[in-house]
């Protein structure tokens, strides 16, 4: 069920990126799409009644350097969290680039409306 809501958020972002005419609104639609995908990726790792995958003193067997089996059986999957960190960094870079292109386009054309920025045709 939460997965279907994630997909709904993705569709909302896609609608916004496709239908809107203001450049900044299109960029916001792209950002919402990326948030939806990151949310979906994190929710994949969830385990019911799970704990955070952080090791501290209580989870190490005394004497050895090994982790208690209880930890491995109840911890939430940490791999999607690492994937999402990478995806957030990438979308940050992409967003910075696209915003700076929007600002420069505003300086050149004087408007944010994409129906008036149509020098390339045909």
């Amino acid at each position: 069920m939460p997965y279907a809501l994630c997909f709904l958020l993705f569709m909302i972002g896609l609608y916004c990126a496709v239908v809107k005419k203001n450049m900044v609104k299109i960029v916001l639609g792209l950002a919402v799409m990326e948030y939806a995908v990151n949310l979906f990726l994190i929710m994949l790792g969830y385990r019911t009644a799970g704990i955070a995958p952080i090791i501290d003193k209580t989870y190490i067997e005394s004497g050895t350097n090994r982790v208690v089996a209880n930890f491995i059986n109840t911890a939430v999957d940490p791999l999607p969290q690492a994937l999402v960190l990478t995806a957030i960094v990438i979308s940050l870079g992409s967003l910075a680039l696209i915003i700076s292109v929007c600002i420069r386009t505003y300086k050149k054309y004087g408007t944010f409306d994409i129906t008036e920025i149509r020098r390339l045709k045909g």
Binding site: L30, P80, I98, K108
Partner: protein, 504 residues
């Protein structure tokens, strides 16, 4: 050789961070370093021919770590990437004098090359996505490099559609991870073969085709290409059209469809239909163009359609359980056309850049009679046009011949007829280019132009020689067996391919 595999990513990446330090005073030193890096990569890529293997990063085993995989298809793509990037870098030493901030251009270029190299050797799908994103970001910045009106508009359109494509791909990767529990390509394909396609995986496959189709500019996802490729500086157009749409789009799509999910009849038909649509739409829209680089961009769409058609046809024959030799021939045609198109399309874009630098315009109506003033550019453009149309003995003829023979052999006669018809349309558009740009009368304001100088000529002559010699790649048996056949074998073995590499 396998131990040198990270060098393909590491050397351009480190040079991308060294180059901004040079600043304004060391511009020639920076350019020399960048050229040296691309030549070193070319030598390394030639050295990887015929070898295969797996490199585990950080000594982690493949169940937990990242692996880099070198096989026939990867070494073919590495060769193509390094050849085109060497020529583009040589060309841009002289061409980019018109722009400021050359050290930033070189740094972005190196980043793009590092990311593309990393993409073709990566062995798990999330690593593929990360490198795909790095290459896309570098190309978004390079398309809008000149910061004029058209370039910014083209860069914005390209960025919006590229980000949508990347979001689709990431969603597909998330669905695949959720359904199989692995990210490594070999383990994912094993899991999919044993469990079959449930609805989640089928949806992931649809998202992958949409996302990678957006990156490869297949129709109906092609809307960004006719705006982005003309507006970029000429060496970047050559890189975009020659290698980026092929590595980010076609290579990744074939890797996922053939080696991970396994080809089926529906998928084969889908690829064939997408290829045919691209061929038609690209050719018809290109004939009516008057902007030189826009015509070349539409022609790119059409030629990528050929590649996808060849590969899809081979996959369809395999999925139907037909003769494996026919499928191998079709895939050989598709891959050879990929290699050829990379070389002659980048040559065409480099000649158009040379023409633009001399005359200052891209509109064909304002040009004419440049043949006497720019003989070497004219010769290179004619060789490239003859190749792309398919005149023997140039390279394009052989790949189109193989595609037609494969289609006829597998009893797809209508496909062969369409291939020949679209080749005729390609002939029309390149005759238009030759007539309006090089033949005819020289207009008044262009009497003073001169031929391009220095490294631009060297790059164009290098690619033109390669165009003429590419036919040897097919005809000389040892070259074909070492370079082309391993790549075909990777795709025809399908999902069972990974067991030969990994012993799992």
């Amino acid at each position: 050789m396998i131990r040198v595999l990270p060098a393909f990513v590491l050397i351009p990446l480190v040079s991308a961070f060294v180059l901004p330090i040079f600043g304004k005073k060391g511009k020639s030193a920076a350019t020399l370093l960048a050229n040296l890096v691309t030549v070193v990569l070319l030598v390394l890529a030639i050295a990887t021919v015929g070898k295969s293997g797996v490199y585990e990063v950080g000594n982690w085993s493949i169940r937990v770590g990242i692996v880099l995989v070198l096989d026939g298809l990867s070494s073919l793509m590495l060769l193509v990437i390094s050849v085109v990037s060497t020529a583009s870098m040589l060309f841009s030493t002289r061409y980019m004098e018109q722009y400021t901030a050359k050290s930033k251009y070189l740094s972005l270029f190196m980043l793009m090359v590092a990311a593309m190299n990393g993409l073709v050797i990566s062995g798990d799908i999330f690593n593929l996505f990360v490198f795909l994103e790095i290459a896309s970001l570098a190309s978004y910045a390079l398309v809008g490099f000149g910061c004029e009106h058209e370039e910014l508009e083209a860069s914005f359109k390209y960025m919006v559609l590229g980000s949508i494509g990347s979001s689709f791909i990431l969603f597909g990767i998330a669905l695949t991870y959720g359904n199989t529990g692995f990210l490594n390509m070999a383990m994912v394909s094993q899991a999919i073969q044993s469990s079959g396609l449930n609805p989640g995986l089928a949806f992931a496959l649809a998202l992958f085709i949409a996302g990678f189709g957006l990156k490869a500019a297949l129709v109906p996802f092609h809307a960004w290409l006719p705006d982005a490729h003309p507006s970029a500086p000429a060496p970047i157009s050559a890189m975009l059209s020659g290698i980026i749409i092929k590595t980010l789009g076609v290579y990744a799509l074939t890797r996922i469809v053939f080696n991970i999910f396994g080809i089926s009849v529906t998928l084969g038909w889908l690829l064939v239909v997408l290829g045919l649509l691209s061929m038609f739409v690209g050719a018809f829209l290109a004939i009516g163009q008057w902007d030189l680089k826009r015509l070349l961009a539409y022609s790119s769409i059409s030629q990528v359609g050929y590649v996808v058609l060849g590969i899809g046809l081979g996959g369809l024959i395999i999925a139907r359980g037909g003769n494996l030799a026919w499928a191998s021939l079709a895939i050989l045609g598709g891959l050879f056309h990929l290699v050829n198109h990379a070389i002659y399309k980048s040559l065409l874009f480099l000649t158009s850049g040379s023409v633009q630098m001399s005359t200052g315009t891209r509109q064909m109506r304002q040009m004419g009679g440049l043949a006497e003033k720019m003989p070497i550019t004219r010769a290179a453009c004619t060789i490239a046009s003859a190749s792309i149309v398919g005149i023997p003995p140039f390279s394009g003829f052989w790949s189109k011949l193989i595609l037609v023979v494969a289609a006829v052999q597998a009893h797809f006669y209508w496909v062969a007829a369409i291939i020949v018809f679209v080749s005729l349309c390609t002939l029309i558009m390149y005759l238009k280019v030759q007539r309006y740009v090089f033949l005819g009368e020289l207009p008044e304001n262009l009497r003073q132009i001169k031929e391009s100088k220095g490294t631009m000529l060297v790059a164009m002559v290098f690619l033109a020689c390669l165009c003429m010699l590419m036919g040897l790649l097919l005809l000389v048996p040892s070259l074909k067996a070492n370079i082309l056949d391993p790549a075909v074998k990777v795709l025809t073995s399908g999902p069972a391919y990974w067991s030969s590499l990994f012993n799992i």
